[in-house]
């Protein structure tokens, strides 16, 4: 029952987004498109962090390869600007997945904070490559993706692009939702809770984690493909460490283990970085402050507020009953 309410509210929000945004100012359309693209990346990070318990600081790498692939194919080989855009999108997904498949072999040797560090190092390797491989990536000048694809739908129009990105976003959300509700997704949560138990129960936990890692890479690559066209420019800055940190931030803000939380977090971070920064110069303090406050007071993120309120009421509403042991509910139910 609760599940149905949640699904309905998410659908409602999506519909609202679809209806309201295109009629708002061009800048709002732009910001929302960018936020939705990052939301896909954030949701892939959530798959790893919230559901599998793997904190990765290197997801920007897959985002970057998707973006660079799109940019290089478009500028050098003129591929991807017509109907073959869909081919490029598929290629981006595959490339992201392949890179994750390679990196996963290294990264999954570690867990916890060691995993954090090794993914950081891997991400930095990709950054270094983007910087140094001048002939391919244009080095620090980056690559300008000249024009947007036109396949009946001309993506040069910002609003049309919005609808396309929305489509990908909604589809990703749906796909990931189905994934985490499947037995595979449940096993991931089991691994997050207590990997040893899962191993005793006979699960190949390494394989599960590896698959999750590869899937996250795939979605990261997809987000990258979209980003190349939304931003029109790809540079090593896209693959820099702070992008990965931002993605993690978005998930923590919105609520780890909720999928939608990542999207909400993406919206907030973008609103702060790209909108609040146009209003006041001290927006960095707001960003840092929101972050610190969320971790301290809302460990389950914004999506976890209803559950926290419920716990709070349960603990304080009945006198004579000592406060319940507040465990960190990783997935509000």
């Amino acid at each position: 029952m609760r599940e149905t309410i949640k699904i309905l509210s998410v659908v409602l929000l999506l519909v609202a987004l679809l209806v309201v945004v295109p009629h708002s100012g061009s800048f709002v359309v732009l910001l929302t498109t960018r936020a939705m693209c990052f939301a896909i990346l954030a949701m892939s990070v959530d798959l790893l962090l919230g559901f599998t318990g793997l904190p990765s600081l290197g997801q920007a790498a897959y985002f970057g390869v998707g973006a660079y692939l799109t940019a290089i194919l478009a500028t050098r080989y003129h591929i991807g600007l017509g109907w073959d855009f869909w081919l490029v999108a598929a290629a981006g997904v595959l490339l992201g997945a392949s890179l994750a498949a390679l990196f996963g072999l290294f990264a999954l040797r570690a867990t916890g904070v060691y995993f954090l560090m090794i993914t950081l190092a891997l991400g930095q390797c990709v950054w270094g490559l983007a910087y140094r491989w001048n002939s391919l990536t244009g080095g620090d000048n980056g690559i300008n993706v000249g024009s947007r694809p036109n396949f009946g739908l001309d993506l040069t129009d910002d609003r049309t692009l919005f609808f396309l990105v929305f489509g990908f976003f909604a589809a990703s959300l749906a796909a990931l939702y189905v994934l985490v509700r499947s037995p595979f997704g449940r096993s991931l949560e089991g691994i997050r809770e207590r990997e040893l138990r899962m191993q005793i129960l006979g699960y190949d936990t390494w394989l599960h984690k590896y698959l999750a890692f590869v899937i996250a890479g795939a979605f990261g690559g997809l987000a990258g493909v979209l980003w190349a066209h939304i931003n029109g420019h790809v540079s090593p800055e896209t693959v820099v460490l702070t992008t990965s940190v931002d993605a993690l931030l978005m998930v923590v803000l919105g609520g780890a283990g909720t999928l939608v939380g990542g999207a909400i977090g993406a919206g907030i971070v973008f609103a702060l970085r790209e909108y609040l920064s146009t209003l006041v110069p001290w927006w960095q303090y707001v960003l840092g402050g929101v972050y610190v406050l969320t971790i301290l007071y809302l460990p389950t993120g914004l999506m976890g507020i209803p559950a926290q309120i419920r716990q709070f009421r349960a603990a304080n509403g009945k006198p004579g009953r000592p406060g319940e042991m507040k465990t960190l509910a990783s997935a509000p139910s």
């Binding site: 061009s26 620090d140 000048n141």
Partner: protein, 423 residues
């Protein structure tokens, strides 16, 4: 400043009256005087925040000195923070165009920001004036993609061609080069190498420390001992550390620097070990002209530091806009006519005489400068200044090569010009 305000306030009613009269003749306008909406994109937070501040301050100083008007039009000056990221620069540029409806947007810091924002100007058909990004190809091989783009500062290789010529004239035959490993470094060294080797010199070594290197320990001992001089291109913290470490290692060879190795952004924080080091750029704060002296003194009194080329570039950009709007009859005529007007300008700027070539890049003086410790402009303490020792007038981005010939060669990169004399 208040004096100028009062003076322009006297002139204002006159201007307003004239315009009101013009308006009453049925010209459509919503305000009294013409409004010029200018968007300015600079990093005001993040690691480049100080440079961004210099950029804004330079432009703002000109506005303050001219009653916040350019060419007679009231200026609405909107500054947006690009945070040192090209992706954010794109968003802010679009915000300025779509939401604030600016007539033009100016700025960007990094070459990548310049490259990222140029297509925005094409897509939105809005003028983009790059007042800092120096990437060569923006006004060379890539220019045709950006019809609404103009640069008012310098291209990376532009000051370094004459520097190469100067190096030959000093009698240097073999030069070892150490430059930051990124596109700007390639283009700066490329310009120097081309000119230097064309007049008989030889680059015998190229070392590329990664951008941001501060410990040059691995690189300094590998510098070839038979070099007559060392060419360096350093940026930011690299500029501070390299000369110190080179001299501490006992190497006394003369240093020839690229524009950012000793510019006024880093010079105040350097020590006496850089005295005698040479570099080249289109500006030096030690330029002994009345115009520059006034500029340096006013800027320093107001902002507490000697202006760097970031400040001068934006101050002069404001001056150019002022002149162009004036010639357009006090209002913004649209991007294409405005660009044509700008290209025809001949400005007497703080940096000297500036005009434009047909690829929309300035033609200006290039100054070969040497660091000296002295008192200047009536300041009582001796400080480090970039004394101008030679001026090359009317230097364009193509130097003496001619546009066609220059564009036929590939853009300067890590491998071009090739290091023929490197062992």
């Amino acid at each position: 400043m208040s004096k100028t305000r009062r003076v322009t306030q006297l002139a204002d009613p006159l201007l307003r009256g004239t315009l009101a009269a013009a308006l009453s003749l049925g010209l459509s306008s919503t305000a009294g005087a013409e409004e010029l909406r200018i968007g300015f994109i600079a990093p005001t937070t993040g690691i480049f925040a100080q440079i961004g501040k210099d950029m804004v301050d330079g432009f703002q100083l000109y506005l303050d000195q001219h009653g916040n008007k350019l060419g007679g039009a009231d200026v609405k000056f909107i500054v947006e923070d690009e945070q040192g990221k090209p992706d954010t620069a794109v968003t802010k540029a679009k915000k300025l165009i779509l939401q604030d409806k600016v007539h033009m947007f100016i700025g960007g810091l990094l070459a990548s920001s310049g490259y990222a924002m140029a297509p925005v100007s094409t897509a939105e058909k809005t003028l983009y004036i790059a007042s800092v990004p120096a990437a060569d190809d923006l006004t060379q091989r890539q220019l045709s993609k950006y019809p609404y783009f103009i640069r008012t500062t310098w291209s990376s290789s532009q000051p370094h061609h004459p520097l190469g010529q100067w190096a030959c004239d000093q009698g240097y035959k073999k030069v070892a080069a150490i430059a930051a490993d990124y596109a700007f470094g390639y283009e700066v060294l490329g310009g120097f190498q081309k000119a230097f080797e064309d007049c008989g010199g030889k680059i015998i070594q190229k070392i590329w420390p990664p951008l941001g290197t501060k410990d040059f320990g691995p690189y300094i001992p590998t510098i070839k001992s038979d070099a007559d001089a060392i060419f360096t291109l350093m940026v930011g913290p690299m500029s501070l550390q390299f000369p110190k470490q080179l001299r501490a290692a006992g190497i006394k060879k003369p240093i020839i620097g690229g524009g950012t190795s000793y510019d006024e952004f880093v010079l105040p924080f350097m020590g006496d070990e850089v005295i005698g080091d040479v570099s080249a750029l289109m500006y030096s704060a030690a330029l002994e002209t009345p115009k520059n002296e006034a500029f340096v003194k006013t800027y320093r009194a107001k902002y507490g530091k000697v202006p760097s080329y970031y400040s001068e570039a934006n101050y002069t950009t404001a001056q150019m806009i002022d002149e162009a709007v004036k010639q357009s009859g006090g209002k913004y005529p649209g991007a294409e006519p405005f660009i044509r007007t700008m290209l025809a300008l001949k400005i007497d700027a703080v940096r000297g005489p500036v005009s434009f070539d047909d690829m929309r890049n300035p033609i200006e003086n290039i100054y070969i400068k040497k660091v000296e410790k002295k008192t200047m402009f009536g300041y009582d303490k001796p400080e480090l200044w970039n004394t101008v020792i030679k001026t090359y007038p009317n230097v364009s981005q193509f130097w003496t090569y001619g546009k066609e010939k220059f564009l036929a060669q590939p853009v300067y990169s890590r491998d071009f010009p090739p290091c023929k004399y490197c062992e």
